[in-house]
């Protein structure tokens, strides 16, 4: 709204690309808000969902180009959410997580599991604005569906 005038004066090369519609699914609202703030200056329209179920509902009701999903949320886990999203929607999925449990006996690779379930790529928290933008650009560029999504 009135904030858009403010954003317009910031010139970045990203602004040449068409508006990307981004959905952030994370139960930590501060993460969603920060991502939204960063992306608002990079020609992205960002919506937030505070859980897997809300995210799936948002995907069902409007179109997005990319969805960022936190792997560890209360309620439905991000891994389950990713599997569900991959089955139901044609969209780039970026898995986000910093949580990591490892064992020499039985290594658990959450990101590997996320990729197996259909994530397009993974990004480890905490990440910088540059890493965030790169992840989004890469996942969108790699997706054959984006041409359709962006008309």
């Amino acid at each position: 709204m009135d904030a858009s005038g403010q954003h317009a004066r910031i010139e970045t090369p990203d602004q040449v690309r068409p508006v990307l519609r981004v959905l952030v699914v994370d139960d930590d609202e501060s993460v969603g808000a920060a991502i939204q703030a960063i992306l608002s200056r990079r020609n992205c329209r960002t919506e937030l969902a505070s859980g897997a179920y809300a995210g799936i509902q948002a995907l069902a009701s409007s179109r997005f180009d990319v969805v960022l999903v936190d792997l560890f949320m209360t309620g439905m886990s991000g891994i389950d959410a990713i599997a569900h999203i991959r089955q139901q929607f044609e969209i780039s999925i970026i898995a986000m997580s910093g949580f990591r449990l490892r064992s020499s006996l039985d290594p658990i690779d959450y990101f590997g599991t996320a990729m197996q379930r259909g994530a397009s790529m993974c990004i480890r928290k905490p990440f910088s604005p540059r890493q965030l933008i790169e992840a989004i650009d890469l996942s969108v560029a790699a997706s054959p569906l984006v041409g359709v999504a962006l008309q």
Partner: protein
């Protein structure tokens, strides 16, 4: 905490040893849960500071002798990056000797426990959003769960499944771990929830199939910043 229940049948010495290992693994998981909790605020901090730094060329150049605002932003970002690097090392140092399926359930349970301890108001949100956990059970575990639901003791269950009561007990212990249950009542409650969740999941999928039309929504209330 949760795994200790499985040890009731052990004799004193072995039991103490297992309890010690359990305490260690719980301490480990609490640590891992704290690291997880830190991820959120640190991610937000790094994003904001990175953004401030990238915009710092447009900060007014002050006439003071000290650091310029640009330098302040740069220093703040560098310090935040140091904290994040430390956090990564901390995260890497946690090892959980758990099988994958158990780790999912316990990791989630610990996070839930930690967020409950952290903010009491999350309880309602948790209760609302208990959805498809999809905890995978083997055929044998499902049978054991069914028998526990029917109220079978380890002995009765063992007889029904033609296995030793020890084996039945170990299946039961594995179920408790998978669900992160504190006791049998807890196990039955969580398993029932999980079951409901799966139903919910399926019906959500069915609904989705019918509403495939792309509809532009006005955006979420928090969408425009």
């Amino acid at each position: 905490m949760m795994a200790i229940n499985g040890n009731a049948g052990l004799n004193g010495r072995a039991g103490t040893e297992v309890a010690r290992i359990d305490r260690e693994s719980v301490a480990h998981e609490v640590g891992a849960a704290i690291v997880h909790e830190l991820n959120g605020p640190l991610t937000a901090l790094l994003l904001y500071l990175g953004d401030l730094y990238q915009s710092s060329d447009r900060f007014p150049v002050g006439d003071c002798d000290g650091l310029s605002l640009k330098e302040v932003a740069e220093n703040a970002l560098r310090e935040a990056e140091r904290v994040c690097a430390l956090m990564r090392r901390l995260g890497d140092s946690f090892e959980a000797p758990l099988r994958e399926q158990t780790a999912f359930a316990q990791g989630r349970e610990m996070i839930r426990w930690w967020s409950r301890a952290g903010h009491a108001d999350n309880e309602a949100a948790n209760a609302q959003e208990v959805l498809a956990h999809q905890i995978w059970l083997t055929a044998r575990e499902s049978e054991v769960l069914r028998l526990i639901r029917e109220g079978c003791s380890n002995k009765e269950g063992g007889v029904r499944l033609q296995i030793s009561h020890r084996t039945f007990e170990s299946h039961r212990a594995r179920l408790m771990r998978k669900y992160g249950a504190k006791n049998v009542a807890d196990l039955l409650r969580l398993a029932a929830q999980d079951h409901e969740g799966s139903d919910c999941h399926r019906s959500a999928a069915a609904v989705r199939g019918r509403t495939a039309r792309p509809r532009r929504s006005g955006g979420s209330p928090r969408c425009e910043s």
